[in-house]
């Protein structure tokens, strides 16, 4: 597929993504050059930052939510185990742990190769991310601060 065709398809996907947020009446920041969207949502205990990006070359819509916690060196192995335990419980999406930075992020993606993806899918991605991040945000934060143990995280 030519670069121009790829970009045209990706721009249509991006329009559909923005339309989903517009219909929700959400306040969000657009970066049309990068085909990305970001917004901050209030969670039950901590705020949730969500970023969507449309990748024309890979025909992929990616969602990333970086959690507002940083794990110091001495807690990083525990975090790697906690992330594995959290991921085991997820149906879709996963937590990534950037070991050398001590940061945790939730990630989800959808390919739009050879397909027409509806706004419902982006809405599903957004809502799944919000529910999942909200469920684990405070747990990861408390684990990073030593307020709970790895055993407490499991419960």
């Amino acid at each position: 597929m030519s670069d121009e065709k790829e970009l045209k398809i990706a721009r249509n996907v991006y329009k559909s993504l923005c339309a989903m947020f517009d219909e929700k009446g959400a306040e969000y920041q657009k970066d049309e050059e990068e085909l990305s969207v970001s917004l901050m949502v209030g969670g039950s205990e901590l705020p949730i930052h969500i970023m969507f990006n449309v990748n024309a070359k890979n025909e992929l819509v990616g969602l990333l939510s970086i959690l507002p916690c940083v794990f110091e060196q001495d807690k990083r192995e525990a975090c790697a185990i906690a992330v594995a335990r959290a991921n085991e419980c997820l149906i879709n999406g996963n937590f990534d742990f950037y070991y050398t930075q001590g940061m945790v992020a939730f990630r989800m993606a959808t390919s739009f190769a050879d397909s027409i993806i509806s706004k419902e899918v982006y809405e599903y991605m957004f809502e799944t991310a919000l529910i999942t991040v909200d469920k684990y945000n405070a747990k990861f934060h408390k684990l990073s601060k030593g307020m709970i143990s790895l055993e407490d995280f499991k419960d």
């Binding site: 790697a80 149906i91 739009f112 397909s115 993806i117 899918v121």
Partner: protein, 157 residues
């Protein structure tokens, strides 16, 4: 779940089987479960994959269980290795059961309200197979070695 959901799931499953037939893949159909099982030879290992259409959740999934169990004294090392690896992937992730030492690759795609083409299902299959082929021997090496965290990160780089 209504008839429309089941009809759509069956249509996605039919598209999946058509794609596999067109690519001359050898696979087993599990029609009741809207699933297929296949084995792929890559380098020196056989990768087993299960693709399934979940009518209730409107998801297509691909799962591949790695063919070894991490021994108990290397479970934390593999938790680090899986974390470092997942953070590099654009789509899909390795799930790691710390309690039993099993690792599986998982990728999902929602099809709600959408028209899913064979290209997307082929992408899922290819992406899963290449990711598993890239990392399963690395995870195995970490699991049987004495590598410490810094060495694991360097090794996976």
């Amino acid at each position: 779940m209504d008839d429309k959901d089941i009809k759509q799931a069956k249509a996605v499953y039919a598209t999946l089987c058509e794609m596999l037939d067109e690519c001359n893949w050898s696979y087993r159909k599990k029609e009741e479960a809207l699933a297929i099982e296949a084995e792929v030879s890559a380098d020196d290992l056989d990768i087993k994959v299960v693709m399934q259409v979940d009518a209730e959740r409107q998801l297509v999934s691909i799962m591949s269980l790695l063919p070894f169990t991490v021994r108990e004294n290397r479970r934390t090392a593999i938790a680090v290795a899986v974390s470092v690896t997942n953070a590099r992937l654009a789509n899909g992730s390795f799930d790691y059961d710390y309690e039993n030492g099993k690792i599986a690759f998982r990728m999902m795609s929602s099809y709600r309200g959408s028209l899913i083409g064979k290209g997307l299902l082929k992408y899922m299959l290819m992406c899963a197979c290449s990711t598993v082929a890239n990392y399963d021997d690395k995870f195995f090496m970490v699991s049987v070695s004495e590598m410490q965290t810094a060495e694991i990160i360097n090794y996976l780089n």
